[in-house]
């Protein structure tokens, strides 16, 4: 692994980031999306968060675990309940981590 290879790799990852995050912005008004797509985009935040969180919480080392033994899953569900009850992100993250660590010590 030489310097040129490593720098090329780093710059290509950076370029990929730029292309995906900014290309639609650069097209600006020139790109018109169908009304149904524009409308579906309203649901993008929730669906993206749900998809990311689900694959993070349901899998432990690439093994699906939907049982009560999955401390991360239980902590995630607990955190959702804390968020709905308190509307505090600090309480949600703190409470979720507390549940996770507690379950791991008990196990």
């Amino acid at each position: 692994m030489n310097d040129v290879y490593l720098w090329s790799a780093i710059l290509l990852v950076t370029l990929a980031t730029l292309v995906t995050r900014s290309s639609l912005h650069l097209l600006g008004e020139r790109l018109r999306l169908p009304a149904s797509v524009e409308s579906a985009l309203r649901f993008a935040p929730a669906c993206a968060l749900a998809a990311i969180a689900a694959s993070d919480l349901a899998y432990t080392q690439n093994v699906l675990d939907l049982s009560l033994d999955n401390a991360r899953l239980i902590a995630g569900l607990g955190a959702a309940a804390i968020q709905l009850g308190t509307r505090s992100m600090a309480a949600t993250i703190g409470g979720g981590m507390a549940i996770y660590w507690l379950l791991r010590w008990l196990a």
């Binding site: 780093i10 990929a16 292309v19 995906t20 993070d56 709905l84 509307r87």
Partner: protein
């Protein structure tokens, strides 16, 4: 989060808006910090030198793409494969940029370029909530910029600490869970409407089923199916979704 300051004239200044963005990002700090830390540690543990790890973090600023590229770099995989992998892992950001595009359309192209570049999951969700709940808020861009820059700083500081102190950070604590919990905190309140809840449930199911797909494509698939399903639900019961 629940700042219900009315934006009536004379209204907030640009500085107020930027500070509000920072304020509404800050509660997510433990999550962003833990994620940055874990990413920093992972880069060094994969064998990437400290100098290259710092460059990758500071230039790319893309947690999941960085993590996906690491094993490829470690095995000296072809550069085109590294680029393709980073591109595909980042695909959700194309959807993000499509969502926030109307908010930036009036700006000069170089500002749009870097506003897109500094997007993160947390500020993306916050910004869409602002666009939905306070469409007439002035200085939306300043609000976004303030929060996104705060996110960048928190992430980079954590990532640099992770890179420099990789040996001292206990990976057994499962700190990265804090990042996921921050996303759960953003997600839960959005699901109080039926079409959104249905879309989120569909996204969860498809994302779990598609977990074995390469390049985190299951995630993208879950997101797209979820959005389509939410649309169907909304069309099936148009009256009930007028609540917002």
């Amino acid at each position: 989060m629940s700042s219900s300051r009315p934006s009536v004239p004379p209204g907030p200044s640009r500085r107020d808006a930027a500070l509000r963005g920072v304020r509404e990002l800050l509660p997510a700090t433990p999550g962003i910090f833990a994620w940055g830390l874990v990413t920093g540690v992972a880069m060094v543990k994969s064998g990437l030198g400290v100098d290259y790890a710092l460059a990758l973090s500071l230039l790319a600023y893309a947690g999941s793409a960085q993590l996906a590229a690491l094993p490829l770099i470690a095995t000296a995989a072809p550069l085109w494969l590294i680029f393709l992998t980073a591109l595909v892992v980042n695909l959700r950001f194309i959807v993000y940029s499509a969502v926030v595009r109307p908010g930036f359309a009036h700006l000069h192209w170089n500002r749009r370029l870097w506003l897109g570049f500094i997007v993160g999951d947390v500020m993306f969700v916050r910004f869409t909530s602002l666009m939905r709940d306070e469409p007439d808020y002035p200085h939306k861009v300043a609000y976004y910029t303030g929060g996104a820059i705060a996110n960048w700083i928190i992430w980079q500081v954590a990532s640099i600490i992770g890179i420099v102190a990789a040996g001292q950070i206990p990976t057994a604590w499962g700190l990265e869970l804090a990042g996921t919990l921050a996303l759960v905190a953003l997600l839960a309140p959005l699901c109080l409407q039926v079409p959104v809840l249905g879309g989120a449930v569909a996204a969860v199911i498809v994302s779990i089923l598609g977990h074995s797909l390469p390049l985190r494509l299951g995630l993208l698939l879950g997101m797209v199916v979820g959005m389509a399903f939410a649309m169907l639900l909304e069309r099936a019961r148009p009256a009930a979704s007028e609540a917002s």
